[in-house]
Symmetry: C2
Subunit: 394 residues, 2 copies
C-alpha cells in the first residue's frame, strides 16, 4: 500500500487511443470535495485551445478536476479546437457527475492536428472508473511524450499539529526554457490554503523552478501548472510560519521536478548549472546566464566534454549586457579556467576536462562588476536531441 | 591565366604550421599602392586582440595590407595577445617594406590559446614571396577553419567609360548569426572610391548580407570585414549613379558570399530563407524572423524534412512581438500550410513535405498586422553540426 496520498484526491491514467502501442494517453486528477485553485500558463502568444479554456475557468479560483491527454496538443486548431477542449471537459464532468465549470483541460503533443475527441469521450467513463488514491503514477505516465520516465514527487508537511500532503506530477522533455515549456505539472494538497496565498506560493515556486531551466530555448503553446487544495487533511495554514513552510515545501518539490525534467530532457547527457555572479543587476545576471544556457556552441561543447571556455566568454559577450572582458573569471565547478579575461593555461584545462566528464557540474562566470547573481539549469546538446526532434512526427 | 584580377592587388596563402597536415593557415592581401579602407567588426564585447588592434588602425582610413591566420583566434589572450597581434603585423610590414600602421591583422580559430607568433614571423617572408595577382584562391584557402571549400567572388563594374573590379574572399562555417560571426571577409577593388562612401557602401552591403544569415545564433569574437580601394583601374566613382552601381555590385557579391557561408555551414543540409511579412514594423518583423531562424526545434525539423509548422508558430509566439494568432498565415515556398492560425490539412502537409525535401526553400510567415517585412537566411540543425562542434578542439 502506497502511503504517499493526498486525502480526498484521486488520479487515473488510461489508454484512449491517441498514442501508439497501447500507451497511457489520458489522465485525470479529481478532488472528492471542492478545492481552491491556482494556475500558471505559458506566456507564448500562440496558445492551445485547452489553455484558452482554462484561463476562463480558473478565474473562479475553484476547481474539482483536470483531464489531460498526451499525443495531441489541440493547438492551432481554431474554433473546432476550442469546441473539442470543451467536449473533453464535458466528458470528464459527465462521467464524474460534476459541473463542467469545475473541470480544467490540458493537452500535450503534436501541434496543428485535430483532436480525436471522440476517443476521449469514449474513454472518459473508463478513466473515472480507474480513479484511485494511488493512481498518480498512472497519471504521470499518461502525460508523457518524449519523457523516458514518469515524474512524481510527494511531500508531507505540518500546520499546527496536523499533517498534510502535497503531490505533484510533471512532464517535460523538449521545448523547455524559462517562462515554461511543453511542460505540464499537476499538483494537489490536502492542506487548507487560502486561495490568494495558493497563487502567490505557486508563482514563487514556478519562478524558482520551471522558469529556471532550459533544454533548447523553445517554449510551448501548452504549458500549464495547476495546483488544487481541498483542505481534507484538516491542516489549515493559519500562521505566516505555516504559509512559509508550505511555500518552501512546494518550491522544493517543483525544483525537484524541474531538475528531473532537465535530466530527462531530450537527448540529455549532462545537466549544467550556469551561475553568473558579480553582475550589476539580477536582470543583467539572468540575461548573461540565459545567453550562455542557450548557446548551441556551448551546449555542443558540453556534449563533447570539451572545456571550451572561449565559447562561454563569447556567448557572454553577445548577451547585450555591458561587460568588462578584462574582469571576467570563469570556473568549471571549483577549477578556475579564466582570470582577468585570460585563460589559466594547460593545467587548468586538464583539471577542467575531468569536471566535464561528470554528469552534472556548474559553470560559474564572475563579471566582477557588482554583486547580483543568477542561476539557470541547462543541459548539453547531443546527437540524440537532433535525432529525437528531426523524427518527432514520424 | 585567370582574368579575375584587381589591378594593383596581390594575395597569397602559405602553411606556417598553425593547422595540421600542411594546410594553408597564413594569408596576405596587399595593395601595391596606398588604398582607402572601410571595415566592420564584431559587436561581441569579448573581442580578439587583432580586432582591438585593427580598430585603432582603421581610424586613419588608409591601409596597404591585411595579414590573417587560421587555427588560432588570438582571443582572451591578454596583453600577450595584443603584443602577438602587433608582432604579426610587424612581420608583414617588415617583409613588405611598408609601415606597420598600414597593416591590418585578423585571426580565426580556437579561443584562449597563445598565438604561436614565431611561426608566423618565420613564414612572413615566404608569404610575401608568394604574393601574386591570382593568389586570392590561396588566401581563401588559408582562412578556412571548418569550411569545406574556399569562397571567392569577383565582379566587374564600370564608372564612366572605365572598367573596374571587385574581389572578395570569405570564410564562415560555425558561429554565424546576424551581427556577424566567426566570419572573415576581405575585399578589394581597383576602383577609385571616396573613403566616406566606401564605408557607407560596406555597411549597407554587410547589413544586407552577413547580418542576415544565421547558422547557430552564436557570434564570434573575431568577425572582420575589410574592404580596400586603390584606384589603380583609373575608374573613378564620380557620379551618384556610379556610386549606386558600385554599392549594388558590392552588396550582390557579399550576399553571394553570405549564402555560400550558410550553404557551407557546419553540418548544413538545407538553407532556408525565413520571410516575415505583414508586421507592424521592420524591427518587429526581424525579431520574429530571428526567433524562428534560431529555434532548435524548427531547425531540427528542417533537418528531418518534417513540415512541422506548429513549431514555427510556437517560435513566433515567443518572439516578444504582439501577434494575433488567429491572423497567422504560413507558407513553405508556395504551399500554404496555415490560414487564419489554423492548419490547412493533410493535402497541404503532403505538398509541403515535397518542399521540405528541397535543398533550399522559403518559409513565409504573414502576421497580417501591417506591411513591414524581414528576411533571414538560416539552415537546418543536423547531427553533423553536433558532431563537428562537440569535437572541435580535439
Amino acid at each position: 500500500m502506497n502511503t504517499e496520498q493526498c486525502l480526498g484526491f484521486k488520479a487515473a491514467g488510461v489508454h484512449a487511443g491517441l498514442k501508439k502501442e497501447g500507451e497511457l494517453d489520458l489522465g485525470l486528477i479529481y478532488s472528492e470535495t471542492p478545492a481552491v485553485l491556482a494556475a500558471v500558463f505559458t506566456r507564448n502568444q500562440v496558445q492551445a485551445a485547452p489553455v484558452v479554456l482554462d484561463r476562463q475557468r480558473v478565474a473562479s479560483g475553484r476547481s474539482r478536476a483536470v483531464i489531460v491527454n498526451s499525443g495531441n496538443a489541440n493547438c492551432c486548431t481554431g474554433n473546432r479546437g476550442l469546441q473539442d477542449a470543451e467536449r473533453m471537459g464535458a466528458a470528464a464532468a459527465g462521467a464524474l457527475g460534476i459541473a463542467e465549470s469545475d473541470v480544467l483541460v490540458a493537452s500535450t503533443g503534436v501541434i496543428g492536428q485535430p483532436l480525436p475527441v471522440e476517443k476521449i469521450e469514449a474513454a472518459a467513463p473508463v478513466l473515472v472508473e480507474h480513479l484511485a488514491a494511488d493512481g498518480f503514477d498512472h497519471l504521470a505516465r499518461a502525460i508523457m511524450t518524449t519523457d523516458t520516465e514518469p515524474k512524481q514527487v510527494f511531500r508531507a508537511g505540518r500546520a499546527g499539529d496536523r499533517p498534510y500532503h502535497i503531490m505533484a506530477v510533471a512532464k517535460g522533455a523538449g521545448m523547455i526554457r524559462p517562462d515554461m515549456a511543453t511542460m505540464l505539472c499537476f499538483a494537489c494538497t490536502d492542506a487548507e490554503v487560502p486561495q490568494a496565498f495558493l497563487g502567490q506560493a505557486l508563482r514563487r515556486a514556478v519562478d524558482a523552478s520551471f522558469n529556471r531551466i532550459s533544454i533548447d530555448g523553445d517554449t510551448s503553446t501548452n504549458d500549464t501548472v495547476i495546483l488544487m487544495a481541498n483542505g481534507q487533511s484538516g491542516a489549515r495554514l493559519a500562521t505566516a510560519a505555516d504559509e512559509e513552510h508550505f511555500a518552501a515545501l512546494l518550491e522544493d518539490m517543483l525544483l525537484e521536478l524541474a531538475r528531473w525534467i532537465v535530466r530527462d530532457g531530450e537527448g540529455v547527457n549532462k545537466t549544467v548549472e550556469i551561475r553568473v555572479q558579480g553582475a550589476r543587476t539580477p536582470a543583467e545576471a539572468l540575461q548573461v546566464a540565459d545567453t550562455i544556457a542557450h548557446s548551441p556552441l556551448v551546449k555542443t561543447a558540453f556534449f563533447g566534454q570539451d572545456a571550451n571556455w572561449g565559447r562561454i566568454l563569447a556567448a557572454a559577450g553577445r548577451a547585450g549586457v555591458a561587460l568588462d572582458p578584462d574582469r571576467l573569471a570563469l570556473y568549471f565547478d571549483d577549477v578556475q579556467m579564466v582570470a582577468a579575461g585570460v585563460g589559466c593555461g594547460p593545467e587548468a584545462e586538464a583539471r577542467a576536462t575531468a569536471v566535464l566528464k561528470r554528469p552534472t557540474f556548474a559553470v560559474t562566470l564572475d563579471l566582477n562588476l557588482g554583486t547580483a547573481t543568477a542561476r539557470l539549469l541547462t543541459c548539453d546538446f547531443s546527437l540524440d536531441y537532433v535525432r529525437i526532434n528531426a523524427d518527432y512526427r514520424t
